[in-house]
Amino acid sequence: MNKIKKAAFGVLIAGLAFGFSAFTTIKKSSIYSYYQVTNPYAIPSSPVGYAYYSGDRCEEGGTVCAARWDIGTNAPPTADGQALPSTGVTFQTNSVISGHFE
């Protein structure tokens, strides 16, 4: 491979990595991270006990600190402490962050 081809391939790799990361980070605008604020050992897929908080509020110790939920047509959370709606929400598999809410 000559140097121009190497550079072109590098640009391609960089673009794909950036794009893939962006795609997986922001998959859907109706998906939000909610923190399990009442029981760090709750069943992750149960919507009970979850509340919205911005930023990182997890600390070590516990099996479920936060998980991502698709809130569908529910109104997006606007302030910290808003509970996860009890209906019309879908748990996102493999989105659980272990630990406990601070």
């Binding site: 491979m1 140097k3 190497k6 550079a7 391939f9 590098g10 640009v11 790799i13 960089a14 673009g15 990595a17 950036f18 794009g19 893939f20 990361s21 962006a22 980070t25 922001i26 991270s33 911005s54 930023g55 990182d56 509020r57 997890c58 600390e59 070590e60 600190c65 936060a66 962050i97 272990s98 630990g99």
Partner: protein, 151 residues
């Protein structure tokens, strides 16, 4: 009696193989840096919030939260161009060493560890993260060593 001194030749690798190893090293760093940079930029508030919990970063969290992905993107751009990739490999080595030293300090200091690291690594424990970073430090050393021999 004649003593023959065998000159240590070391592991013989053809020039072509060396070039391929350096290329793969460079592309792996580009993938790592661009992937994590995008993830950090897109979740910058969460990333800054995590950094704010660090005793070493504290109130500089916003500056660091933006500086890290920017530095990662700059290094990736430097690595893309073959005529300056050596500088990129040195920068990659330095950055990964700093990251690893930071992680090792956090684990060994006994400070309370934030759980969420973001991006690729959000599912890794801090100890796994250290080993992951050390792998890339070793990769950078291999790339730099082979790149030097190539000349």
């Amino acid at each position: 009696m004649q003593i023959t001194l065998n000159k240590q030749q070391g592991l013989q690798i053809s020039a072509k193989t060396r070039e391929i190893i350096v290329d793969i090293t460079v592309y792996l760093f580009i993938i790592l840096f661009m992937y994590t940079a995008a993830s950090k930029i897109l979740t910058v508030k969460s990333f800054a919030s995590t950094l704010a919990k660090s005793p070493l970063i504290g109130s500089y969290n916003m500056i660091v939260a933006y500086a890290i992905p920017i530095v990662e993107i700059i290094i990736s751009i430097v690595l893309i161009f073959p005529f300056i990739r050596k500088a990129g490999l040195y920068a990659s080595f330095l950055l990964m060493t700093v990251f690893t030293a930071y992680l090792a300090y956090m684990v060994l200091s006994g400070n309370k560890l934030p759980c969420h690291c973001g991006g690729v690594i959000s599912t890794m424990t801090w100890q796994q993260h250290i080993w992951f970073n050390l792998g890339f430090v070793v990769l950078a050393i291999i790339g730099l060593t082979i790149n030097r021999k190539k000349k």
